[in-house]
């Protein structure tokens, strides 16, 4: 079995992001920056109805707009649209302005249906309009039972019931979905803003009926994905069709408006939870019903990475008697897609809220309740370490006992993420040149998580070189296969692969150079002995160097202005186990990012739909609110170093516990539960009983 170097020089230290200079000088070319010779601008026309039968699409006037080179329909003949924003047609032209004019010139004939539903609770009602003609909006809930909750509850010393809800969250990566696609006689090249170059290639090849070998996908730089960017999407296929029709490359990036409608989101959740414990605080029974919406259906046209609306319940806790009923309810809205730790943030929020409500009922410190019930040894350790660093004991007051108008509160919550030890089919190769320069090529992609830097760090460590001496190339399907970046698996996929490439490179270089040790200061002399032929080595993922199942706990401190309802997060402490730390500085950035994303989920983010018109009311950054620099608290991180476990991904575990911790801190501050995310000033004031009943004028 392989093992990592015992006293590393770069691994577990901090190396500056290797592609930082390119990103800092503007020379990094993102998918949306590609300017192939003769490129055209592309745009999509979307349904302005939440439900309609499109009977005819007339493209003639659009084609006549000066500068327009191609117009295609998204679907042939008559078709139904089932949500506001579904694709109808696409245009390509020599300028954005021509495309804008062309979109307005397309004539769409449709039988508009006024029966639609965009509200989950309405959609559950028997008389609700149906999203799909031949199926109810919600299938019969599936039930998972262990033990017997009905007999267990009467024996509990404390029982609480709560209804915890979370809103639909939109991924909103800074770079929207999209591609530049060039379709020529030789095949298709797509510069994709994707987190899965291989899945985009396969998706495009399938949709365009081409051999996989005729499709090449390139992703040098991409501006974030968070789970929503695995497939080519409708927009990728349309870009390819436009390219073929126009005989020119087409850059088709979605607008921010489009981004809120059709390319994924995190499902909502409506969690009715009943939980009971014995007097000593041991959980005895858990009875829950949950529904949420994944739009017209998880994965229906998600282009990969879809999902339903189920969440893991009772999340990280072991309860002897459980009954969990769940169902996904369809509404006339865009499909859900995987979103950073799918299912976990709502599950953590719901369960951890219930835990604090139960602790209050038991008159118990909620941290103590967790220590009594959390089966994970690692989290037990994390809670204890975190509590000490956070000053939990000194800061903890009973819920609602903080004095004054602006009340402070603290809370905590836990996270688990299964992940995987990496994709065991991950491969890569390296070219070692006689001048000592070395280039690694892996068919993975760097989403901004630091994958390129991880490759450079591992290679430098293994070869005794400096990270800046390693050239790293990823994001090209012409490179050896690499997995899509999802499930926090990229780091555990590439690290062992680079380990293997390096091990083989050292062996072969030793043989060819006749030198016993070719590393470090001997490297260049050894390479020189290659003569004129570079050495090309191929490696693949190896077992024993990575692991799965990460745990984390987070602590939050908030201030709540009980007169205005404004919540200010003062501090978040994240305690996370990360196995073998590869590169600390980029790891910390991942944790910061997870926390801030979780904070948005807790306090600001909500897709708002209008019942009457069926539109998304906030397809923008003005009213779909993301945390900004003025909202972000002091963030402290404790990394539990466990090199003996090998490499673990951290992207997802870091975002799970934040919302629960913040929600519990708010509860601790004001003594009443805001049981709905996001926790807005309006909801705080309502929870405090300050909001008068509405008067209809």
């Amino acid at each position: 079995m392989s093992s990592w170097p015992a006293e590393p020089k770069y691994i577990s230290h901090s190396t500056a992001r290797v592609d930082a200079p390119a990103k800092l000088t503007g020379s990094a070319r993102y998918s949306s920056d590609i300017q192939e010779k003769g490129w055209l601008y592309g745009m999509i026309l979307r349904s302005k109805w939440p439900s309609a039968k499109v009977t005819a699409v007339n493209l003639d006037k659009a084609r006549a707009i000066p500068g327009i080179k191609a117009v295609v329909v998204a679907r042939e003949a008559e078709f139904n649209v089932r949500y506001y924003g579904e694709e109808i047609a696409a245009v390509a032209g020599t300028s954005k302005q021509a495309c804008l004019d062309a979109l307005r010139a397309i004539e769409v004939k449709a039988e508009v249906r006024h029966e639609f539903v965009v509200n989950e609770t309405e959609a559950l009602k028997a008389d609700s309009p149906r999203v799909w003609d031949n199926a109810p909006n919600a299938p019969t809930p599936h039930v998972h039972e262990n033990g017997n909750v009905d007999t267990a509850f009467p024996g509990c010393a404390a029982v609480i019931e709560g209804f915890y809800t979370t809103a639909v969250q939109v991924h909103n990566p800074m770079e929207t979905h999209g591609n530049t696609v060039s379709w020529t006689d030789e095949g298709v090249t797509a510069w994709a803003s994707t987190q899965g170059i291989t899945s985009v290639r396969d998706g495009l090849a399938g949709a365009l009926q081409l051999d996989h070998s005729k499709v090449r996908v390139i992703t040098d730089f991409m501006g974030g994905g968070f789970g929503a960017k695995f497939g080519p999407g409708v927009e990728g296929v349309l870009a390819a069709k436009l390219s073929k029709a126009a005989g020119a490359p087409v850059r088709l990036m979605l607008t921010r408006f489009d981004e809120a409608l059709a390319v994924g989101n995190r499902p909502s959740s409506f969690q009715k939870i009943k939980i009971g414990a014995s007097a000593d605080g041991l959980l005895q029974a858990f009875d829950a019903e949950n529904y949420g919406t994944a739009g017209i259906g998880g994965g229906a046209d998600a282009g990969g990475g879809g999902g339903g609306a189920d969440i893991p319940m009772p999340y990280i806790y072991k309860v002897p008697n459980t009954r969990v009923k769940q169902s996904a309810v369809a509404i006339n809205a865009g499909s859900a897609r995987a979103f950073r730790a799918p299912g976990h943030p709502p599950a953590s929020y719901g369960m951890e809220s219930a835990m604090d409500d139960l602790a209050a009922k038991l008159a118990m410190d909620p941290l103590e309740l967790r220590l009594k019930n959390d089966p994970s040894e690692i989290r037990q350790r994390e809670y204890k370490l975190g509590a000490e660093k956070f000053g939990w004991k000194q800061k903890y007051q009973k819920p609602g006992s903080s004095p004054g108008v602006v009340k402070t509160g603290i809370g905590c919550a836990g996270a688990a993420w299964g992940g995987s030890r990496g994709d065991r089919n991950t491969q890569g190769d390296a070219t070692i040149n006689p001048d000592g320069s070395i280039e690694f090529r892996l068919g993975v992609q760097d989403l901004g998580t630091g994958t390129k830097t991880v490759i450079a760090v591992v290679a430098a460590e293994m070869l005794g070189l400096k990270p800046e001496q390693i050239t790293v190339r990823v994001g090209d399907t012409n490179f050896p296969y690499g997995p899509g970046s999802g499930g926090s698996t990229t780091c555990p996929s590439v690290s062992p692969t680079v380990f293997d490439i390096c091990t083989k490179a050292l062996e072969q270089l030793q043989t060819q150079s006749g030198m016993a040790d070719v590393r470090g200061e001997n490297w260049f002399a050894a390479c020189k002995k290659l003569g004129v032929s570079p050495l090309v080595v191929h490696g693949k993922w190896q077992p024993g160097l990575s692991t799965d199942h990460a745990c984390g706990v987070q602590f939050a401190e908030v201030e709540v202005d009980t007169e205005t309802g404004l919540v200010t997060v003062k501090k978040i402490l994240g305690v996370h186990d990360c196995g073998l730390i590869i590169n600390q500085i980029t790891l910390e950035s991942q944790i910061n990012g997870g926390i801030i994303s979780g904070m948005g989920y807790a306090l600001y983010e909500e897709r708002v739909m209008d019942d009457l018109s069926g539109v998304v009311l906030n397809p923008n950054f003005e009213t779909y609110k993301l945390p900004g620099i003025a909202d972000v608290p002091d963030i402290e991180i404790v990394l539990i170093n466990m090199p003996e476990r090998g490499v673990i991904g951290i992207g997802e575990p870091a975002t799970v516990a934040t919302a629960g911790a913040i929600a519990n801190a708010v509860f601790n501050a004001i003594g009443v539960r805001v049981s709905s995310l996001p926790i807005t000033p309006a909801k705080i004031l309502a929870a405090l009983g300050k909001v008068p009943p509405p008067v209809h004028a």
Binding site: L24, M174, F226, R381, I595, E636, I640
Partner: protein
């Protein structure tokens, strides 16, 4: 902010004068009460251009960029779609995300909400214009050292906001940085690092708040 006279308006004012006589200034032309000379003077000053493409000269990063653009083309579209300067990013096209931030003189503005024709006459700086001869500026170096970037898509905008702040206020407080950068959105969550980088570029020491604890 000064509003310099677009420098090349004179160049095509003669052509557009006749156009303007035919359209907007028609009342003035038919009234024939003022002298032709006075009319000429007025029209030269207030020529109507467009809606078709007109010559536009932008001075970006010290170099002249001669383009032909419809008046409705924004500065961001001009840079990204009519030149190879794609450093300024489009994140929203609605003045809400800051990825397109560029400097007009020393002033940060959203390039998506500025017409290209109105950016004429300014010294425009984009992210490509910060590093001279490949040497990163202090702000860029601080971003690199503090890892104040992840996917990097918002980074050009933040760099411009921080650069502008430090030019105006070389010794900012944390609150000053937050105030100056509130108009930039980052979805990866680099905000704490951007704050540290901005302060660090201003010579304020910032310490890491991370602790590494061995499990065994």
């Amino acid at each position: 902010m000064n509003n310099p006279e677009p420098e090349n308006f004179g160049a095509h004012s003669r052509r557009t004068f006749f156009k303007s006589l035919g359209t907007v200034a028609a009342t003035a032309a038919t009234a024939q009460v003022r002298s032709v000379a006075a009319e000429l003077e007025k029209a030269n000053a207030e020529s109507v251009i467009g809606p078709g493409a007109v010559p536009v000269t932008l001075k970006v990063n010290g170099e002249k960029l001669k383009l032909t653009l419809e008046p409705r083309v924004t500065l961001l579209d001009a840079l990204r779609n009519y030149s190879s300067l794609t450093g300024a990013k489009e994140g929203c096209d609605r003045a809400t995300c800051g990825a397109c931030t560029v400097l007009l003189g020393d002033t940060p503005v959203y390039a998506c909400q500025k017409l290209a024709i109105e950016a004429q006459g300014y010294e425009i700086t984009t992210v490509e214009g910060l590093a001279k001869k490949g040497n990163l500026t202090k702000v860029q170096q601080a971003f690199l050292q503090k890892d104040a970037l992840m996917c990097g898509y918002c980074t050009p905008g933040f760099l411009m906001s921080v650069t502008a702040l430090l030019r105006k206020n070389p010794k900012p407080t944390a609150d000053d940085v937050k105030h100056a950068c509130a108009g930039n959105i980052c979805r990866c969550g680099t905000h704490p690092r951007i704050l540290q980088a901005a302060l660090s570029a201003a010579g304020v020491a910032t310490a890491s708040k991370t602790e590494v604890v061995n499990y065994v």
